[in-house]
């Protein structure tokens, strides 16, 4: 065990897999000697640069993610750093194609590709947009959004070993925000497609991912003081969705609040709502609530940005109103 930040945990996972499998390589802008913006690839150059497995590329997103797809088709296992999620729009076609390849090839082709992207309102003022939901609409693409260093490590190991294109989300407010215990050589790693019950409770289920898990847990602690028992489900993987864990929790508590850092319209959490309405309807004791950013682009001024993100207070208020309607 050692104590690591989210950023260190992700890099440690990549390091581990690069040692384990020579087909793993990393590629992106400024990831070599520079180590990547916000140290996203720190140390990999020293360890693997000489072997040519740390590749700096020009500012050509469509093509370097495309090259990641193409190399994966040949059996390589690229871990491509997109730098910021804002640039996802530039590589949508590549994800669309990569997600379809296994199915359309009759099962003969797989695309073991990881694309990493930083996002989120955080200390780094800018590049905050969270547009991962676009990919929830793409069959064959997986989406992973860890909320803590240990999961970031385990999920990255699993993502690299997975035979499908994976978008790996790295929240900038979690990135350097404190260390936690990580077992970098853990035999068992966090599987993709498996949510975690981050806190057990009996009155209401909060479903979240990434930074929203942190806020949900903080809200749950506050609500506990008023005697409310809150269960928090950390999705960890957004696609495919762990339906069993979500349904079990909702059937137990009878109430559901979903959290989204992205705008509510077209958000991936809407599928969680649809799932509960469809398959746990009779267990519901109250309307399902969604807490999401308003349907506007992420604003710049700190005051607006703060108001834009669902806050711990808003979560607490929403849950209170649900449990004790005024």
């Amino acid at each position: 065990m050692s104590r690591m930040t989210f950023q260190q945990a992700v890099v440690a996972a990549i390091h581990r897999e690069m040692v384990r499998d020579r087909n793993v390589f990393v590629m992106g802008e400024d990831i070599g000697k520079f180590g990547g913006p916000l140290r996203s690839n720190a140390g990999l150059w020293d360890a693997f640069g000489a072997e040519g497995r740390v590749i700096d590329v020009p500012i050509s997103e469509s093509t370097f993610v495309g090259a990641g797809v193409g190399a994966a088709m040949q059996g390589k296992r690229p871990v491509v750093d997109l730098m910021f999620l804002e640039f996802l729009a530039l590589v949508m076609q590549q994800f669309l194609d990569a997600g379809a390849m296994h199915y359309y090839s009759g099962g003969s082709q797989s695309v073991p590709l990881v694309v990493r992207a930083k996002f989120g309102v955080g200390p780094f003022h800018g590049h905050a947009y969270d547009h991962h939901s676009w990919l929830a609409n793409m069959p064959g693409v997986k989406i992973v959004a860890p909320s803590n260093p240990a999961d970031a490590h385990g999920l990255m190991v699993s993502a690299i070993r997975d035979n499908n294109p994976v978008l790996f989300l790295e929240h900038m407010a979690l990135y350097h925000a404190g260390k936690a215990e990580v077992d970098p050589e853990a035999g068992e790693v966090v599987p993709l497609g498996k949510a975690a019950v981050a806190r057990t409770g009996s009155d209401v289920t909060l479903v979240a991912s990434g930074l929203m898990v942190k806020r949900a847990l903080a809200a749950a602690t506050t609500l506990q003081e008023s005697g409310f028992s809150v269960e928090v489900v950390d999705l960890r993987t957004i696609s495919p969705l762990d339906e069993a864990t979500i349904l079990a929790s909702v059937r137990k508590t009878g109430r559901l609040v979903v959290l989204s850092e992205a705008i509510g319209r077209g958000s991936s959490v809407n599928d969680v709502i649809a799932l509960a309405a469809d398959r746990a309807f009779t267990a519901l004791k109250a309307p399902i609530r969604k807490i999401a950013a308003p349907d506007i682009p992420t604003p710049f001024a700190r005051e607006l940005e703060k108001e834009y993100l669902p806050s711990e207070d808003l979560i607490v208020q929403t849950v209170r109103n649900l449990l004790h309607p005024a």
Binding site: D30, P58, F84, P294, I296, R302, L304
Partner: protein, 319 residues
Amino acid sequence: MSRSNRTLLELYELMMLTRTLDEVLGKHDGHWHGLEGEEAMIAGIYHGLRKSDVVAPHYRGAVSAALAKGADLRTIMAGCLGRSTSYHAGRHRSDICGPPEYGLIGLYAGSLGPPLGYAAGGALASKLDRRDDVAVGVFGDGTSSRGDCHEAMNMAAVLNLPMVFVCQNNQIAISTELKAGVGGRIVDRGPATGMPGVRVDGNDVLAVKDAMDEAVARARTGGGPTLIECQSYRVAGHFYSDAEDYRDPHEIERWREKDPVTRFRRLLVEQGVETADLLARTDARIGKDVQGAFDAALQDPVPDPRGLDPGSVYAEAAP
């Protein structure tokens, strides 16, 4: 080309303004993208354009572009500080995005490259309207690797658009040196896509200005697009608080000695355009103006957080 004293002094002021922005905004925000070393390119490119010309500036220099096009300094400062008095009402940042009411196209979702396509659209609109306004699309050497850049140049040539492409080549993109980011010479892409390509010393403001004037005149008179590659060096860090452990400090020092502001100041004095004393007074006035605008903007109100109204993302129907 011989230039009036007035033009020469305007160019100097735009260079000095650019330098001063660095000092004032860089001190305030460690993420400010420094401009040192690139003042001649920035002044030479943006000086003398019409308000009705469309400009998609490179983000490094976007504030100077907006000011050169007539935007108000204090309002721009408010936009760098996220104040409600800014052109963007605090919703967006003025350091990378100028006001569209002055013909500015900035970065909206942050991706480098797409603004070159929007600039081509500005040129297309001018052509459709049979106006003689032009569009100027500026990009860094790093940005030149984006498909958008190649595509915009090719399309502008094919459609014979009134457009000027300018590469603000500072030989680096974050930590990626020119040779690691760009295969071949950027200037050669002009002829490769069917337009003239010109390469100039980006530390010589008059060379940049001459090339711009010629290209703008060609575009205004139906002669189609031009590519200008300005060669310079990013003396500044990628952003103001950049540790820059990836670069040879001696190389930076060698380029700092070629400082374009010092060079142009010397030329103005030698040619008797202005005395050193008067130029020093100009410097002091600009310093006071910029600091004053910044300090005033700091006192401006912040946006009301209750104003996050989804209704405001859609434009009203035409009356």
